[in-house]
Symmetry: C2
Amino acid sequence: MNQAVERPIILTGDRPTGQLHLGHFAGSLRTRVGLQDSHQQYLLLADTQALTDNADNPEKVQRNIIEVALDYLAVGIDPNKTTICIQSCLPALFELTSYYMNFVTVARLERNPTIKSEIQMRGFERDIPAGFLCYPVSQAADITAFKATIVPVGEDQIPMIEQTNEVVRRVNRQIGQNILPECQALLSNVGRLPGFDGKAKMSKSLGNTIVLNATDKDIKKAVNAMYTDPNHLRIEDPGQVEGNVVFTYLDAFDPNKEEVAELKAHYRRGGLGDGTVKKRLEAVLKELIEPIRERRNELAQDPTYVMDVLRDGTDKCRQITQQTLDEVKAGLGLFRF
Amino acid sequence: MNQAVERPIILTGDRPTGQLHLGHFAGSLRTRVGLQDSHQQYLLLADTQALTDNADNPEKVQRNIIEVALDYLAVGIDPNKTTICIQSCLPALFELTSYYMNFVTVARLERNPTIKSEIQMRGFERDIPAGFLCYPVSQAADITAFKATIVPVGEDQIPMIEQTNEVVRRVNRQIGQNILPECQALLSNVGRLPGFDGKAKMSKSLGNTIVLNATDKDIKKAVNAMYTDPNHLRIEDPGQVEGNVVFTYLDAFDPNKEEVAELKAHYRRGGLGDGTVKKRLEAVLKELIEPIRERRNELAQDPTYVMDVLRDGTDKCRQITQQTLDEVKAGLGLFRF
């Protein structure tokens, strides 16, 4: 087990606000399955964070904890290698957040570009909930509670990593000891997958996602509706590959990169119909999703197993995060019984 | 014990940033001793809150937990009637704070007059720590965790009560059930005691306080230095009672109101020297403080007893506050193991 202790610690996870889909698979799930052998990986189901902008719909968040856990297990996250836990069940995270909030100014939070753009996106403006403004602090608590040194994020989340490291340095300076490690962003080399309608944002409410338990019929329907090159009217015409979602998906999921390159060349010079390319993508997606869907359906019939995985993982993480909290409290000279 | 359960619940307490003094005695301690028979009273040593503007000096906060506990016990707070607890040792308070932060906007916190004036007083301006901005939310967590319906406050703290009741209504509305009770301010009928130098603010750093274990010598010195009527030069001159600290203190502490009224009349018409009035006050204060000082010195020699009181009280409050958290989490539909 000593070997396990020395593996670099990764913290990552998801807000449980909906079932995961192919976008998550391409952007993070696949990587996580790959990382779990070489790293000590923790997956946080961030229900508390999800509540910062879903306070009026907690049922949705609770329901999706199980859905997302099913997605994790279905794609191959192995609970013996990766620890899955539920944020709201880790009291130490709340305490660390409180202490860290004394080391971060309101002005600093308001300058956070991620917060700025999310405020705009969600239309909060002046009515931003305090919990939402402060969620970079809560993220710093999550990351440091696990003493994670590697945090997989999108480029837009880099300010969160910077904020975390600022907190780390301030707390360590106050304590006079490097109790908390700084962390590094692990940037995904995959761009964000567009919705099958070509919209940059993929979301359940837009109805442009392919979920991880999509049936063959769902897949066929989605691929048929997929956005291609609107100027590619006749098969013999040259077609455009850039912005053509079918090719974007083939790039993301077709294991045979060479054949995809050939198809692209053919499409560009003309003579390759959308129907042919779509057929290929449909087959690729069916092959990818079938085992995930089957595993997911099996797991969904065994709720006790899923609950056990969540309970065991959360129990383990409760101890880990409590240990960090104890160190921080002792370091800050707080009263302890 | 049923009778005890039905007594109205009071939450009050202090930031442990220094020994308590006569200002606290007149403004709150005396009342608390009176209330403990008719109410279920909880005294919170608000060390976490004290850290929101003392993050760089946690040792001061920790040290003063014991000092303030000694002050409580010395003035007659009876741990069998009043439960004393330490805020940082009650994890449920942190969790409740986090959930409530989703129901309070940043704009609302910035409009809070108490926060506004404290920001100004402390010179924070734009560099206000997030924890400080959010401390009304943390107070709402404190009050509601105990389901307190009565909160003794100064007039300047009324916005805090309003903020708490706003949170209560929003959380209850979200839950669809009145889990949290609204609370009422119990206003002190005693004005704020000035420092013995006549300054409105009494503080250790200004050196104008009389602590609760002041020696006879300390008392004599303070009373001699006490601000009176600067225009009352000769004994036979009429003197002014308003703003004359000696009379303010007599009003606050002399048990014989009639004699004080007579002294005031005499002083006003002339013929009563400052020395005579100060002698009386000195005697009054010596009589008041002597038993408190003796009891405090005794208790200070028995740190195990004080620690036991704090531990037992905190253990009891950990259960009470956890119970409320459980109800709120269940009400909000949060995941629970």
